[in-house]
Symmetry: C2
Subunit: 198 residues, 2 copies
Amino acid sequence: MRKPAELRKAEIVATVLDLADRIGPDRVTTGAVAAAIGVTQPALFRHFPTKAALWQTVAVQVADGLAVAWEDALRTGEAPLVRLRALIDAQLAQIAATPALPMLLFSRELNVTNAELRVTFHGTLSAFRGLLAAEILAGQQDGAFRDDIAADDAAVLLTSLVQGVAIRWALGARDFALHDEGLRLFDVQCRLLAAGGE
Amino acid sequence: MRKPAELRKAEIVATVLDLADRIGPDRVTTGAVAAAIGVTQPALFRHFPTKAALWQTVAVQVADGLAVAWEDALRTGEAPLVRLRALIDAQLAQIAATPALPMLLFSRELNVTNAELRVTFHGTLSAFRGLLAAEILAGQQDGAFRDDIAADDAAVLLTSLVQGVAIRWALGARDFALHDEGLRLFDVQCRLLAAGGE
DNA sequence: GATAAGTTTGTGAGCGATCACTAACTTTCC
DNA sequence: GGAAAGTTAGTGATCGCTCACAAACTTATC
């Protein structure tokens, strides 16, 4: 079962994400990845110089996936409220599609072993908050959102909402639909943020 | 430097929390703890049968600290809004006093190695959410909070708020005052939840 | 009240397992 | 036939933990 390097590399990255989800990011050893693929452990080092480099490739792929999803979301409409909901929707969908993501954010791999990884993800999350803040600000200027609250603060509340539901989902038994629950809570928070009240 | 077991045990637990904060929960090896105290590594096993048992003791101590802080907070007043703010205040203070707590929640030690730990902390967080929900419900019946929103949902939004600010604090460079920022955001969210709007 | 006996606390050496990673050799495919 | 892709075998480091033993403190006995 010999494969060209390009394919094998992609297979390794996908397996890391799959294993990170199923057994936890910190249990993803090179041996476990190799066994899941069906090659010997040293074979991985034909394609990645170190384990850290492998993780970095994983991180970039995930971050790119998020960025693309955001761009798509922002194309769904013009109204800030629509775009805002699409952003949250996209983020929840990406998390559901990459269930290792929440755990990965707090893994030893990211926070201790691999400083570069941390920078990658931290920048990605900040970018998301920035996009949210921009839409909220636009919504306030439209009169759709109450403007007695700083747009940045509202953006923080929304990112916290997504993080909170993702964490509850990841740490718990994943016994609810992340996407539905997230959007439901978003709508609740949106009602609070809406202008006019009641 | 011989010490009675009681003292040594407490010293070990304190050192684990200190090290978990400074180098990350997953880098807290038995050797590191022993070195920080100034004893040999096997000495730890005079006081704890396994490393998991040591962590369990740490978890119970932290959970007890949280429970006590909540009780104190609920004694600060009668008005739901006052008590709610006191609860958030206490939680932020406890996190600041035990800075390893946020990382601990997502550590390998808790999520992979030690299933009992996970149960302990999960129950603790659920209890907190319950306390918040009770105060919000009381506030809605008082007419202080708008009642077009489920108290449970509002409680989730508030716990997410605390989690979110704690995570931003822990994952970032701790470059802001957790307590101040947390209470500030709480007041923002409280304004959204308040009855009457504007 | 000294001393013997027993318990508690700690040490030094080391075991078995696991990890990321390397070197040298073999197979597969264009 | 030569490079790419994979194997077998092995290295050094680190981990939690055990074991035999020593020192320190406590208790009981004469």
